[in-house]
């Protein structure tokens, strides 16, 4: 990274947060905002206690419980370990004077939904959380990445983190997104192209004309799954759509500082001729509605396509891995994707649990019924998303169609709470990971957009939204 030449968005945020740097490039980076949840924080708070250390800036830290909370009957968490984790977070945040959105608070929800919703997430910030999907916040032009629990403790104690600068990767998508293609399809397509290790060591900046008209919700879906491409962070340059989204939210800059903040945010987009270690240009025409067939997010195929043959793998290892995935998924190569019959539908998660996602689902399932052999669950990303969906009448549409309408949380995305697949069950899921056992031991996950999941719920098979409308 040069000091004087043209800089990328990443370079600008990085250099503005450097507290110190060693000769080998190892840096002490200041962290503006820290999000904390119940699963990856107890050991960090315990560490502070054992060393008699304090939280350096409680006001820069926000907490909620999302990963293991039930999405139904949550007044009493029956699982003892889950309850202890949630109680431990309540106790720790109280002890350290950290703002905590508890289960009874409308503002509770998935950390990566409520950060933006509350205006906590802003351009040019550094943000961390003990959760890999912290990359979501990059949609605002914030450098946001997941960290481990030891690093959570480090940030709590020092408001900094020890890091080496990442490499810059630019992925430009140009052209209008074709009919039926969403930002979820776009990111699944990208992961299919570069692979789950393709972004290792990099921060991916997404650019190009396809992204310009996208809402913040759609942009968050893209940055959210950067980690599935191996990149710790994704970035999209802030623009008027970003500023309009933030304005007036509870933790947005006050009126006194708004203009100054806008000036700063407007200086952030990458300079022309800035250097990228890697670049990829995609024409939007290449992209179809996408579905995963295997057990890695890179195992994607167009919904109009077929389950691949192991011989299509370029290396022996890849061929073995395709065979392993097919065995786990209970699929035969050559099967038409739309012939795959489903048991469950999960709509929600930090990838696709926002109000726009629910509106899109409602527009497809309105006045229809989900297939008789399907059980479908819709889990809003936050209490406020839930409230808004109810006010807009979306929840009635879902319930009338036969979906279960739940309370906010991570739910079946990772199945830490009771929302899990049974062995052999096949699920269309709007979440981010189709790993073996992710949604329940032996469960089979097909990742897709909320639109495809909604159409699939009605048909009972994986369905192409373009045939549906």
């Amino acid at each position: 990274m040069s000091n004087n030449g043209p800089k990328t968005l990443f370079d600008k945020i990085w250099s503005d947060h450097l507290v110190g740097q060693r000769d080998d490039g190892t840096s002490l980076l200041y962290i503006d905002r820290h999000l904390v949840h119940e699963v990856t924080s107890p050991q960090a708070f315990e560490g502070l206690k054992l060393s008699n250390r304090k939280v350096r800036r409680p006001e820069a830290t926000f907490a909620t419980a999302d990963h293991n909370v039930p999405t139904i009957n949550r007044e009493n968490i029956s699982d003892e370990q889950s309850r202890i984790q949630v109680e431990t977070l309540a106790k720790n945040t109280k002890e350290h004077n950290i703002e905590y959105f508890e289960l009874t608070d409308r503002r509770q929800g998935i950390v990566h939904i409520i950060g933006p919703e509350q205006g906590i997430t802003q351009p040019g910030m550094t943000m961390v959380c003990g959760d890999s999907h912290t990359s979501t916040h990059g949609a605002f032009g914030a450098l946001a990445f997941g960290i481990g629990t030891s690093e959570v403790e480090h940030v709590l104690a020092t408001q900094t983190i020890v890091q080496k600068p990442a490499k810059n990767m630019r992925i430009a998508v140009n052209g209008k997104l074709p009919f039926g293609v969403t930002s979820k399809d776009l990111i699944l397509y990208i992961i299919g192209q570069i692979g789950t290790a393709g972004g290792n060591g990099h921060v991916i900046e997404y650019a190009g004309t396809s992204l310009k008209p996208l809402s913040m919700e759609s942009r968050m879906t893209i940055c959210n799954m950067s980690i599935e491409a191996g990149a710790r962070a994704g970035l999209i340059a802030p623009d008027q759509i970003t500023f309009d989204y933030i304005k007036g939210r509870p933790y947005a800059p006050s009126k006194d500082h708004w203009e100054k903040a806008i000036d700063y945010w407007s200086s952030l987009p990458s300079d022309q001729d800035a250097f990228y270690d890697n670049e990829l240009i995609i024409n939007s025409d290449e992209i179809d509605p996408m579905v995963t067939w295997g057990t890695s997010p890179e195992d994607v195929v167009a919904v109009s396509g077929f389950v691949p043959d192991p011989s299509s793998g370029k290396t022996e290892n890849k061929q073995k891995s395709i065979q392993r995935s097919l065995d786990y998924m209970g699929l035969k190569s050559g099967t038409k994707i739309t012939d795959i019959k489903l048991d469950k539908i999960f709509i929600g998660s930090c990838t696709n649990g926002r109000i726009e996602d629910l509106r899109n689902v409602a527009s497809i399932v309105k006045d229809k019924k989900i297939s008789s052999h399907i059980s479908g669950m819709i889990v809003p990303g936050s209490g406020l998303v839930k409230k808004q969906a109810e006010e807009e009448g979306l929840s009635k549409i879902f319930i009338d169609a036969g979906f279960e309408w739940r309370d906010a949380g991570c739910s079946m995305c990772l199945g830490m709470n009771p929302d899990q697949l049974k062995p052999g069950e096949r699920c269309a899921s709007t979440s981010n990971r189709n790993f073996e056992g992710r949604q329940g031991r032996g469960g089979r996950t097909h990742l897709m957009s909320p639109e495809l999941a909604a159409a699939s719920a009605i048909k009972g098979n994986i369905s192409d939204i373009r045939d549906f409308i």
């Binding site: 507290v19 110190g20 060693r22 080998d24 002490l28 200041y30 699963v39 990856t40 107890p42 050991q43 315990e46 250390r53 800036r57 409680p58 990963h67 293991n68 699982d79 370990q81 889950s82 202890i84 984790q85 431990t88 802003q122 910030m125 003990g130 959760d131 890999s132 990445f145 960290i147 481990g148 629990t149 030891s150 690093e151 403790e153 104690a157 020092t158 900094t160 789950t196 290790a197 290792n200 980690i227 191996g230 710790r232 800059p253 500082h257 708004w258 100054k260 700063y264 890695s296 890849k318 392993r324 199945g415 830490m416 062995p423 990971r433 790993f435 073996e436 056992g437 031991r441 032996g442």
Partner: protein, 202 residues
Amino acid sequence: MDKFNTLKGIAAPLPIVNIDTDMIIPKQFLKTIKRTGLGVSLFYEMRYDNDGKLIKDFVLNTSPYDQSKILVAGDNFGCGSSREHAPWSLKDFGIKCVLSTSFADIFYNNCFQNGILPIVVTPEQLDQLMTAASNQTEFHIDLPEQTIKAGNHSFNFEIEEFRKERLLQGLDDIGITLGYQDKISNYEDEKQNQKPWLFKDK
């Protein structure tokens, strides 16, 4: 944190690519509020059947690999979730070193926080080490010299100087950073003027 200097022992071969942290330690074990006791659940779904019985032919369930301190694994090891429970469970099982052609970034960092040495090798070296591991050859890892020896094979490996120092000395990151408190305060004072909207609390 535990120091790491040299390590001798047989290595368990795990020739699978993209081993994610859900495979290393499934979600049901993340409900703990402790760092210890996770070794018994390491690779749970590959190690135990639906009734909780050991799956006999899984490598870490067979002698002598059930005593392995070293793991040789396929590309992109540790991808997915940021859960530090993954290195905690490896460490609790007794694994102190993992060899692969690449690691996911967060997992790689998390290893160093727990005295585990992740070593990146080339695809050719991985093939040779995988075979050596399958043959129960003794491995010898030397961090000060940055070498891996296994039978007739001997390779050098790269590691960042700062990370090496911390592993060798078993240093605690927070302790080091707290030595820079003044610098952090100076940074905050300066930024409070430039970006006052970020410092409502100050």
